[in-house]
């Protein structure tokens, strides 16, 4: 059932690719670069965020004013920070773009099953990146301290409070005490910047098993994304809501559909159910790579066994090491000479790290010395098939 659904989704994803490939050359298909695009948006966010950080004051009395000062809103006018409005717009719209492309990245890699074998680690770190990004985004809306921020704080407090036993403690830990205390905004500022740094640690984990990661999109898409963000921030300026009141929070929410979706859900379900839903989604997301323990027959040719190095033939030429897309091959100093003539004088020996091998066989194609084999599909098996095909 799930397998059939996944198959259907795979076909839809790939036909979407075909459709886009008709518009763009395949080298520039933006869906092939969702990872690079997220990295681009993250860089833009960090740079514009540093700019905003220089002017932002995390206190109830000054936070709103400092944001108004950055953007040159009414009391300041031309005395505001030059281009502050544009930078703030960039920060806002790049964040929206970021969440869009990481969701695309998530769904695309889910539907094309790129979480098999040892690729579960990029998947897990990717889930964490997703959760962190959402958290940072919501924090950012609280920092402005307008009416929306006040409402968000109230809703978050209610939702956390709905967790049995630890709820109240969690809420005070997050907000620095019961209700809105003076600690709230400094803490939010730290939770906005700190996890953004943690994103880079997680990104390292995301990339560590990947050789030649596509970190940046093609130049065309870099320019297009930057241009789109810049244009949006000029055409639709990012503005604050009115200043937060001291009384009860407002009862309506100005929604950013990309980050504040869970808060919209609060209109329809109780906070307790929202917590349950969030936990289920995250736990299920972490479970996705382990969901299909397929039998050997179902996997067929794709489960050919971990690549084996044939010690006698390996010449230590490093070709497999350079070509392995998952960094699964390391070169070690050769403990003894090889057997064949080419392997006599070798200095290095290739070793396959079994925990990283995805059984794709790319190293077999890379090796000109027949020193690597997939156990379930040996070279002589392939040659046998070729001969059979030629005979009939």
């Amino acid at each position: 059932m799930y397998k059939r659904l996944l198959d259907r989704l795979l076909r839809w994803t790939l036909s979407l690719d075909v459709w886009i490939n008709r518009v763009y050359p395949a080298d520039f298909n933006p869906l092939y670069y969702t990872g690079g695009l997220s990295n681009l948006f993250l860089t833009v966010l960090v740079l514009s965020g540093i700019f905003l950080f220089l002017y932002y004051v995390p206190s109830f009395t000054d936070a709103y004013t400092s944001v108004q000062y950055i953007t040159g809103a009414p009391p300041f006018g031309l005395n505001g920070v030059p281009y502050g409005q544009i930078i703030r717009g960039i920060h806002r719209y790049a964040a929206d773009g970021f969440i869009i492309v990481i969701l695309l990245h998530f769904f695309r890699n889910w539907f094309t099953e790129r979480f098999r074998f040892s690729r579960d680690e990029p998947w897990i770190s990717g889930m964490m990146l997703l959760v962190f990004s959402g958290f940072i985004g919501v924090n950012g809306y609280m920092l402005v301290w307008d009416q929306r921020a006040q409402l968000l704080v109230a809703m978050t407090g209610n939702t956390l409070g709905a967790i049995p036993l630890v709820g109240g403690a969690l809420r005070s830990a997050l907000f620095g005490g019961a209700g809105t205390t003076n600690l709230l905004l400094p803490r939010m500022l730290f939770l906005h910047v700190g996890p953004a740094t943690a994103l880079y640690v997680l990104l390292w984990w995301h990339y560590v098993r990947v050789r030649h990661p596509k970190v940046w999109p093609p130049a065309v898409w870099t320019l297009f994304s930057l241009g789109a963000v810049l244009l949006l921030s000029a055409v639709i300026p990012a503005v604050s809501q009115p200043l937060a009141s001291t009384g009860a929070p407002p009862d309506r929410l100005a929604v950013d559909w990309f980050f504040l979706l869970p808060y919209v859900a609060l209109k329809y379900i109780t906070p307790a159910w929202l917590v349950v839903l969030a936990v289920v989604i995250v736990v299920y997301g972490l479970y996705i790579p382990y969901q299909l323990p397929e039998t050997h027959a179902e996997m067929g040719i794709r489960e050919s066994g971990i690549a084996q190095v044939i010690d006698a033939n390996c010449t230590g030429c490093e070709l497999c090491y350079y070509d392995c897309p998952y960094n699964a091959i390391v070169m070690v100093p050769s403990p003894h000479p090889g057997v064949t003539r080419a392997a006599q004088a070798r200095k290095l020996l290739a070793i396959v790290l079994e925990s990283r091998c995805v059984e794709c066989g790319i190293c077999i194609g890379a090796c000109p010395f027949e020193a690597l084999e997939l156990p379930a599909l040996l070279e002589k098996d392939v040659q046998g098939k070729v001969l059979e095909a030629c005979r009939t």
Binding site: L14, Y32, R302, I362, G365, A389
Partner: protein, 165 residues
């Protein structure tokens, strides 16, 4: 591949798995042409496999040229399993191109016994393979397959036949 009866598919885990030597092996053993099919370029399931095999086949074509084998007998075709019609068209084009080539040169005299089965393949009529397994369109995210195409032109691969210049 039911509509292309003279093409046989061999499934492999990833197009990057294919050693160019195997394509040459196929050519030497009676196939008229051989191509590797992989995921669309830029979207390899295993990240880099199709780019690698594309490069390797380009290098191999140069090697074949030196050996007086027409390099057009090997090719790479990159399609996902989502456009079957275009894939079939591409294979048919390749097949027609190979068919239009002049006959291959006689097997090198220097090595009389090329391979264990080569006499059979060489004597046997056109090395055409009736084909089952449209496996390409069924299983994996992209139909990775090394294919030995051999359009049957009714021209026997005579071992000592008309050598083309």
């Amino acid at each position: 591949m039911r509509d292309l009866p003279n093409v046989t598919l061999i499934q492999v885990p990833c197009s990057g798995f294919v050693r160019p030597a195997w394509l040459e092996f196929a050519l030497r053993n009676g196939a008229d042409g051989a191509f590797v099919c992989g995921c669309p370029l830029g979207d390899c399931f295993n990240r880099l496999g199709n780019n690698l095999i594309a490069d390797r086949v380009v290098q191999m074509r140069r090697r074949l040229e030196r050996q007086k084998i027409q390099p057009d007998r090997v090719a790479t075709i990159f399609f996902g399993l989502h456009d079957r019609a275009e894939f079939t068209t591409a294979v048919r084009e390749f097949s027609d191109r190979v068919a239009a080539l002049p006959a291959p040169p006689p097997p090198a005299v220097r090595r009389p016994a090329a391979g264990p089965a080569s006499p059979a393949a060489a004597q046997g009529a056109p090395a055409a393979a009736a084909q089952g397994a449209p496996a390409a369109a069924a299983g994996s995210p992209a139909p990775q397959a090394v294919v030995e195409g051999s359009p049957d032109e009714g021209r026997p691969d005579a071992p000592a036949g008309e050598g083309e210049a």
